[in-house]
């Protein structure tokens, strides 16, 4: 949009006047110059990014405690089991090209949906925890994660994106059925924490990217105007 304002005119005064008019026409669209009082999505993106980093830090401590509670081999640093039975967990890993091809709305939608699912699973984890200390930590993390969901929803609203509506009957549920063995359940817990970690890392990257994208390019406008001899 802005480069269009800076395109050289035909050389005569009419051309320059036309250029000036074009610039003035587009000025209200420049976010930095639009001082009607709405700060835009920038601050909320920044807050969401900060919250994501805080949750990353919080999860590091929680995962250590919970994996010790599960016992070896789940608390071993090099334990990398096949993903058995955790198919319902939203996967954070995605091909780089695919990820780059996603637009902001899709990314935000995927984030929102993933955390909605993960939060539900986490609450189930909390109900199963045997020790009060662990239950407290999990409850605290769930609250923070709920806050992150709210932040993402706020960003989406600020950008004018609708929130994804859960399809009826597809809501994740915590069903430790009899067919699901305790060992597989522990594997699920392990993968839940691991996916959470990966999602938070991915979200931090997404929000950082979005934050940079949403920065007001006011300086660029000034530069272009000066280049035309004003």
């Amino acid at each position: 949009m802005l480069p269009a304002a800076g395109e050289p005119a035909a050389g005569d005064s009419w051309g320059m006047l036309a250029c000036l008019c074009t610039v003035l026409w587009h000025l209200p669209a420049v976010p930095a110059l639009n001082r009607t009082g709405d700060p835009g999505p920038g601050p909320s993106i920044q807050k969401t990014y900060d919250l994501t980093r805080y949750l990353e830090h919080q999860l590091r401590s929680l995962a250590g405690t919970y994996l010790n509670y599960l016992g070896p081999p789940f608390n071993e640093p090099d334990f990398n089991p096949p993903r058995l039975g955790a198919e319902t967990l939203p996967r954070a890993t995605v091909d780089l090209e695919v990820w780059r091809s996603l637009n902001d709305r899709l990314r935000l939608t995927q984030n929102y949906e993933a955390y909605s699912h993960l939060l539900c699973y986490l609450r189930g984890l909390n109900r199963q925890a045997a020790t009060a200390e662990l239950r407290r930590s999990l409850a605290h993390f769930c609250t923070s994660l709920q806050g992150l969901l709210g932040s993402i929803a706020g960003v989406m609203a600020a950008l004018g994106y609708p929130l994804p509506q859960p399809l009826p009957g597809t809501e994740p549920t915590w069903t430790p059925g009899p067919a699901h063995s305790d060992f597989l359940q522990k594997m699920d817990d392990f993968w839940l924490l691991k996916e959470l970690q990966t999602w938070l890392w991915r979200s931090a990257k997404d929000f950082n990217r979005l934050k940079k994208k949403m920065q007001p390019p006011a300086a660029a406008v000034t530069l272009h105007l000066e280049a035309h001899g004003f």
Binding site: G71, E76, Q128, S181, F183
Partner: protein, 864 residues
């Protein structure tokens, strides 16, 4: 498979049914499509069980390894695809279960199980039931360890009562309530059943309800009508059933200790009168109750704190006095000790001091001194006074303490003694006062003598003649003075004895400042008059005088030889009288260095032997020498003064300014001794007959020099000097001297022809002092020419030409020979007068004669 009934209601032993028939199962087909299965899935066992784990693999590979809690385990391969592992005596690890898993190495295939190991369910301990109100029974027990796992909830507890057949599932793991039915059941048989998924344990008790009554804690315990020595305590209890009585125990505590205990039977309200209390004292009352019909347990205690009221002080304050003169007025300082808590009976607010003049009974003076002051000062006259001191609290005054003082301090000169200190204190004893002593007082100061006195005293009965004075303030090495007073029937105190003592005597820490005087060649006196024996850390018994003798010198018999700590030998003299503070050290060697130290000693030891003082005895003859030297110096001074006064005369006599042979004393000397033929020739008598014109060409000297003998050939002759003043043999420097030379009238002396005065350095070789250009050598050459000339002229015809000058050798002109001495001698010289043959002088000028004349003049110029 077989079965057995396991129910608490069915009496044991139960019996097993018959085994069922075998059923076959195809494990491979029953399994799903997963590549690896581990069994048994999610097994729950008790601690100590043996568990067999097996895996079934579809992939038929050998590289499958299994792990128990991350540690590899090894089992038995039953088949190509089946292996079994036996775990023996498994133990509880965590509530979340023990992890066992198998995996195909580097194959990404993993299967596992969680083995839940439960703790063994324990039998409940200390199971008992009791009631507080005969309506509800509360049963309690110790549940032991919790067997809860994520696979198994904690053990549950169920209470059965066999008479009523009722049961209740307990909500808590260590207690349970049981409602007593209204049908007044008295006997109960309870069974407590604990169970989990694996085991059941039970315990039973049988009891009568009324024998298990544990009353509730009493309430509303309050003091009522609290006086100085009495108080009534009231309290309430919760009723138990109808018309039941409770036995309550009331305890009274003072300072944490039970001092009274009473039992009271009550129904609902309790009341008890506490007596024999101390006024103004804090007490704690506490109550507990038990069921009277059958004692089972005391209830919990309830406590209440209260204070008794004040009462008037019960005892007179202990008063003592100190008399002294301040500005000529007798002044009495009154001291009293604060009343103990037992006797004060409250907070002492002030002290009243009533001074009554015994000589003028109508006169009173009342002083009120607010607490906590414990002394006051009164200025008196010579009258006798009776002083009453009372302590007052909010209730009233104490009994009065009465003391009589007189303006006259009385006899202070009393017997002085010593008192021995022990670990317990000072054991002071005194002679009993004959007559009317109503008591004794021992008075002392707690601090050392140099500190302000904190007056202490101790009252003693009339029959006492000794006591032990104890004080936490007593310190070793400090002298304490005790004064013992007798109290007369008139309540007046009289000083009886004085005693001084140390709790523990110490060795002196300092030595006296010793002044040395009367030093002679064989003795000196030491004195330390300023040394105070009173303020020492022990009773000074005497002094040791240490004297370090000269090397090899023996100690004087009065001294004792001793070895000092640094291994040096010393002579020690012991003065056993502490008041002897002078000592004369005698029998010393003159002009010798001695070291001494004076150190006091107590019963414990002596002072430090650190700083010896050095003293050097005088020379024995020094005083004699002084007697000789002083007159000598005086005489020399007299001579010098005389010499100075007679210097003019001496100059005239010895070295007049113008030499006059007639005046010379030498002349008389010569005359008197030898050469009576010698006469004096006057210059004025000589008639000059020729005038010599002196031609002084520049090269003449050079010519002369070229013809003379070499220096090595020149015989060196010592010039004859006559020094009138004595000179040092090795004198080498210039100095004032009188050079008196005259060869004129002595032909023998004419061999030495020089006026040049060379200070002779004896050390230097003679030939070095006679260079070619030296006057001696020059004259030698001249003399040789002159003698040659004499050989040509008959001696009788020869006339003399005199050239005589008095001149300083330093006044030579530019052409004079370089005979500069190292330093010009300030001499007055009587120069040589050389006799020159007239013939030679008048001879026609020839080459030789011209040369001789030139040489002569050269010399003459030099001597001018």
């Amino acid at each position: 498979m077989r079965s057995m009934v396991d129910d608490a209601r069915i009496p044991k032993p139960g019996f097993w049914s018959n085994w069922s028939s075998w059923e076959e199962a195809d494990a491979q087909n029953m399994l799903g499509h997963d590549p690896l299965f581990v069994f048994p899935k999610d097994k729950l066992v008790e601690e100590g069980s043996n568990v067999t784990i097996c895996y079934v693999s579809r992939i038929h590979q050998d590289n499958i390894s299994c792990y128990l809690e991350g540690v590899q385990i090894y089992g038995e391969q039953l088949d190509r695809s089946v292996s079994a592992f036996e775990l023996k005596n498994v133990s509880f690890i965590r509530e979340k279960g023990t992890n066992v898993f198998c995996k195909v190495d580097q194959g990404g295939v993993l299967g596992g199980i969680v083995l839940f190991v439960s703790k063994v369910l324990e039998e409940p301990k200390d199971f008992s039931c009791e009631t507080q109100d005969l309506k509800t029974l509360t049963c309690t027990w110790d549940p032991g360890s919790d067997t809860g796992l994520t696979k198994q909830p904690s053990q549950s507890y169920t209470l059965f009562e066999s008479f009523s057949g009722k049961k209740t599932l307990c909500k808590h793991r260590n207690w349970c309530d049981w409602q007593v039915a209204q049908d007044s059941q008295e006997t109960f048989n309870f069974t407590l059943l604990a169970e989990n998924y694996l085991r059941k344990r039970s315990v039973s008790i049988l009891f009568n309800l009324t024998q298990r009554v544990h009353p509730m804690t009493p309430y509303n315990l309050l003091p009522k009508n609290v006086g100085a020595t009495k108080a009534t305590m009231t309290w309430k209890v919760h009723s138990i059933g109808n018309n039941s009585t409770l036995l309550c125990q009331l305890e009274l505590l003072a300072e944490g200790k039970v001092i009274q205990q009473s039992n009271v039977s009550i129904k609902v309200n309790g009341e008890y009168l506490l007596s024999e209390l101390e006024p103004d004292t804090e007490y704690v009352a506490r109550v507990r109750c038990a069921y009277t019909n059958h004692f089972w347990k005391w209830s919990e205690l309830i406590s209440q704190k209260f204070n008794t009221a004040e009462a008037a002080p019960s005892e007179a304050p202990d008063v003592w006095r100190n008399l002294k003169l301040v500005s000529g007025h007798p002044t009495v300082s009154l001291f009293w000790k604060p009343l103990s808590k037992v006797h004060a009976n409250g907070k002492i607010l002030f002290y009243n001091v009533i001074v009554e003049n015994l000589d003028k009974p109508s006169r009173f003076e009342v002083l009120s001194i607010p607490a906590p002051a414990s002394s006051t000062e009164l200025t008196l006259d010579q009258c006798s006074y009776q002083i009453h001191v009372t302590a007052h609290n909010s209730v009233g005054p104490s009994p009065a303490s009465v003391i009589v003082v007189s303006g006259d301090p009385g006899n202070e000169e009393v017997e002085k003694g010593r008192v021995n200190g022990t670990e317990d204190g000072f054991s002071v004893s005194w002679k009993p006062q004959s007559g009317d002593a109503t008591g004794y007082v021992v008075e002392w100061c707690d601090g050392p003598q140099d500190l302000p006195c904190v007056l202490q005293w101790k009252n003693l009965g009339p029959n006492t003649t000794s006591t032990v004075i104890r004080s936490g303030a007593f310190r070793p090495g400090v002298r304490y003075n005790f004064r013992i007073y007798g109290i007369s029937t008139r309540r007046m105190a009289h000083l009886l004895e004085k005693k001084a003592g140390y709790l523990e005597e110490l060795a002196p820490s300092d030595n006296p400042q010793v002044v040395m005087s009367k030093l002679t060649s064989r003795s000196f006196t030491l004195s330390w008059k300023d040394y105070s024996t009173e303020s020492q850390p022990g009773f000074i018994q005497g002094y040791h005088v240490y004297l370090k003798p000269k090397a090899g010198e023996q100690c004087h018999p009065a001294f004792e030889k001793t070895v000092l700590p640094e291994d040096s030998v010393c002579c020690k003299y012991t003065i056993d009288n502490p008041e002897q503070k002078t000592f004369v050290v005698e029998n010393l060697q003159p002009e010798s260095v001695y070291e001494f130290i004076v150190t006091p000693y107590t019963s414990v030891g002596e002072g430090p032997l650190d700083a010896f003082t050095k003293v050097t005895t005088l020379d024995e003859y020094s005083h004699t020498l002084i007697h000789i030297i002083l007159p000598m110096i005086f005489c020399i001074l007299i001579v010098m003064i005389i010499c100075y006064l007679k210097s003019q005369w001496l100059k005239e006599k010895c070295y007049p300014d113008s030499p006059n042979p007639y005046k010379s004393s030498v002349l008389s000397l010569i005359k008197s001794k030898e050469n009576p033929h010698l006469t004096i020739m006057y210059v004025n008598d000589c008639v000059p007959d020729a005038i010599e014109v002196i031609n002084k060409p520049e090269g003449s000297k050079i010519q002369f020099l070229g013809t003379r003998k070499s220096p090595t050939e020149t015989e060196f002759t010592k010039p004859a000097y006559l020094y009138l003043l004595p000179t040092e043999k090795n004198y080498s420097g210039p100095g004032p001297c009188i050079c008196f030379e005259n060869f004129t009238y002595n032909q023998a002396a004419s061999d030495f022809a020089s006026c040049g005065h060379f200070p002779v350095t004896p050390q230097a070789p003679r030939h070095q002092l006679g260079p070619l250009t030296s006057p001696e050598n020059l004259l030698k050459a001249l003399e040789q020419n002159y003698m040659n000339s004499l050989g040509e002229i008959p001696a009788g015809e020869a006339n003399l030409n005199y050239v005589s000058q008095l001149a300083s050798p330093t006044s030579g002109d530019k052409d004079s020979l370089p005979t500069n001495p190292p330093e010009p001698a300030l001499c007055s010289e009587y120069k040589m007068q050389t006799a020159i043959p007239l013939g030679l002088a008048s001879a026609p000028p020839s080459e030789n004669s011209s040369l001789s004349s030139t040489t002569l003049l050269g010399q003459g110029e030099h001597c001018r």
